[in-house]
Subunit: 478 residues, 2 copies
């Protein structure tokens, strides 16, 4: 059933695709660039969605659904927006057997159609703020598709809000950046760097874009979520106005923000190892697999072991567990499958364990003997949830240490060019796009973000030597 | 803010659209035929989804996501399927700035693309059954769109399963029909009739289609969910085969089944009255609204009333409530709004109630004084959940009585033609499509279903007088 997975050190890209397909997370479809998210991958996505959705609702957001199709003329109303998205559009030209008068765009993102609806719904300052999110599929034409990272159709949430003042819109943008950071760090165990995008990397049509950036296992960066202060750009393009308390017409200030199925790719590449996936316990569809082991033709043993397994299951309050009682597969084969699928914790239990009143508890994040302990049967109900929390914390710690060990602070441009081969570079940047372009041309690295947390003082731009107030994080990125 | 809603008796279609738009359930979009589901409507849909999803998962189904786009050649592989759907397709001809070699269809339903994937995934009898559902948007070109009932894009779940034997596939089809019936009756308070579709009304490509049919407030029928036994039609078209225990290749037997945002339309039209929506408590986004009432400029009273409101809220365990403290709107205005929105229960509380240690509890399903009771403050925590259950039960009872009062058992074709103007007709049918066609031409009524529950004995076809084993339900339908 399982082919050997190529080690990450040998071919990271191949490892990534093999793990996803063999763990049955996702598959390519016959439509080039479109993926199928299989049940195991979708269960992970459901957990991601649930955790984000709770946070959105706690902060006053509501879900809704806007149309899949957008008139071409809408996309063209905001100049930067159309320039950014036009090359990636999928276009419906025929419907109901007829050629359409105006072609319809399959939404690449929904600022335009939602902006139009907001212009209909918002009249007075009393209608503000409008805080709406949608969970949706979007389409952007992709020439080099990769599962979860760049697919023609992908799944995401896109929040779209409208406010009376710029100050409130900025607050909202940063509130969401905090939510994304909190989710990534505390649920996905991914130590992201929240920061601001440079002008050249911001969303087409935004005043300012914010991002969370993560380091993958091959030391490349991945943008895992973005939050945009759209200023009044879309409000002016779509005439989103309100009557203020002094009976004056004002344009709204809007924001948009999104996290997509890319997050699944980030989880895979942050934590995965040469055996396969390693899923953070809080998001893992299955947190614990119980593998009963019985020698062949030992019906008595089997009954006793399964009785003990039932007893364990009854005590496992709130743990998402699965019992793998496929006795016609060897224990080793079953272990491999659940390791490949990244289940955080495994209980092994056989007749000898039973007579010793204990089980083997094996951690996925620490392979081999080092990750195995014997646990008395009586302690399982407490040990399992504790161990899941320990694994969650250790995964975050390990990912943070890996990122920090591969983040450099070069002091010259020559040193910069050397270290950027091996990870992230934190360096001062003067803010000039010319310096950014030079780096990109000479090293393929881009500014991933200007981190929200900045050191005191100032210094010189790593590229041109001119005064530079801010530190930027540079890296090669997905 | 609110325009007067036209009474149902005057213009049912207009009432329907006005209620939806004024209650902010949904809105038309600038793309003809596409709707926007607004937060209040979407919250109802989320509750519908959650209740169905629990039932699917309890019966072993998993969620996944398949591509939005389907190659045109796939749609053409199953002869009846292409004939049924071709006139309704939206077609993408351009992507990424280029004309596509093969046009892509925006999925009207996903049997074909899922069938293709199943042919890749299924090898052995050990891989069966495959029990997958997806929550998705689909597109069918609509010339006469109506919010929730017929929109170009709509939202639904579509289950797709593959089995080793026809018997298992039939079992699955009927298991889902039971789930749909249970959901409609017990959550949506809609007394649906589960039954079989006639040949002319079945899904294009199915062996047999099953349906749940409901009576709307204007006595027309609405198909609220369908479950299809697809036989081996799609397995043969897409080569979905498995190796059985005797090492022989066999074609799978597949099913598909769906409930869509039409269900929202069914809820509106089953329970709504001339004041607006009436939502069943189990699905209502807000089950209880608390309206504090204080005369103007009475700060002391306000503080005391709000303190009592806080006290009530603390005791409301598990009730989805909302406090409407917009004191700049009159009580009457606020009552109207929540009646329009169909919130099942309302608490009114003012200074006088406070001194009497009681509140007014007003039922949405019984308008005016008859639906109001005084409840001692101390009893609210018990009374509210009980009252919500009572409302739920009464709504089902009322809808059942309405349906039964408007269901006739004509004994001649002349009588049939008379009663079909006023509701459902239960009558024997010989099974001949010619009789069905005649009814449809002469009365605009169709066979909604052949109910699963049949009386004993047999009789004569209501149309041709030939022997007829089964009773069918005839009605004009949405």
């Amino acid at each position: 059933m399982f082919d050997k997975i190529v080690p990450r050190s040998e071919d990271y890209a191949k490892w990534y695709t093999q793990v996803i397909r063999q763990a049955e997370m996702a598959d390519y479809s016959p439509v080039r660039g479109c993926m199928v998210v299989r049940p195991y991958g979708y269960a992970l996505w459901e957990n991601v969605k649930a955790q984000l959705d709770i946070r959105f609702k706690e902060t006053g957001h509501e879900n809704a659904a806007f149309p899949l199709f957008i008139p071409m003329s809408f996309i063209e109303k905001e100049a930067e927006h159309v320039e950014g998205f036009k090359p990636e559009l999928a276009i419906v030209t025929h419907g109901g057997g007829k050629k359409l008068e105006e072609p319809l765009v399959v939404r690449p993102t929904s600022e335009t159609i939602i902006g139009y609806m907001y212009s209909q719904w918002i009249q007075s300052y009393r209608d503000l703020p409008v805080l709406i999110n949608q969970w949706a599929n979007v389409v952007r034409w992709e020439l080099r598709p990769r599962l979860f990272l760049r697919t023609m159709e992908f799944f995401w949430q896109e929040g779209h809000t409208a406010h009376a003042t710029h100050e409130e819109a900025v607050e909202e943008t940063l509130r969401i950046l905090d939510i994304y950071t909190d989710f990534a760090v505390n649920e996905a165990a991914i130590p992201v760097i929240p920061g601001r995008k440079s002008e050249s990397e911001k969303f087409p049509g935004a005043l300012t874009s914010y991002t969370i950036e993560a380091m993958m296992g091959d030391k490349r960066a991945l943008q895992a979520g973005t939050s945009h202060d759209l200023g009044q750009n879309f409000a002016k393009a779509f005439d989103i106005q309100y009557l203020d308390a002094h009976q004056k017409q004002q344009h709204c200030w809007t924001t948009s923000w999104g996290v997509s199925t890319r997050m699944i790719g980030a989880i895979i590449m942050t934590h995965g190892d040469d055996q396969g996936l390693v899923l953070p316990p809080r998001l893992a569809p299955t947190q614990l697999v119980i593998v009963p082991i019985v020698p062949k033709n030992r019906a008595d043993d089997k009954q006793a072991v399964m009785q003990a397994v039932d007893g364990i299951c009854e005590t496992l309050n709130g743990v998402r567990y699965h019992v793998d009682d496929r006795f016609d597969y060897s224990p080793g084969w079953r272990f491999n499958e659940w390791e490949l699928k990244g289940v955080p914790l495994r209980i092994e239990i056989g007749p000898r364990d039973l007579s010793n009143q204990q089980v083997v508890l094996a951690r996925r994040d620490i392979p081999g003997k080092d990750g195995k302990t014997f646990v008395p049967m009586d302690n399982i109900a407490e040990t399992v949830p504790q161990m899941l929390e320990t694994i969650q914390a250790d995964m975050l710690k390990r990912a943070t240490e890996f990122r920090d060990a591969n983040t450099f602070e070069p002091e010259s441009y020559d040193e910069f060019k050397a270290v950027i081969e091996d990870g992230f570079a934190r360096a001062r940047w003067c803010g000039d796009a010319a310096c950014e372009d030079k780096v990109s041309e000479e090293t393929q690295a881009t500014i991933r973000c200007i981190p929200m947390e900045q050191p005191d003082g100032d210094g010189e731009c790593i590229v041109c030597g001119k005064p530079a107030e801010e530190i930027a994080v540079f890296a090669r990125a997905y």
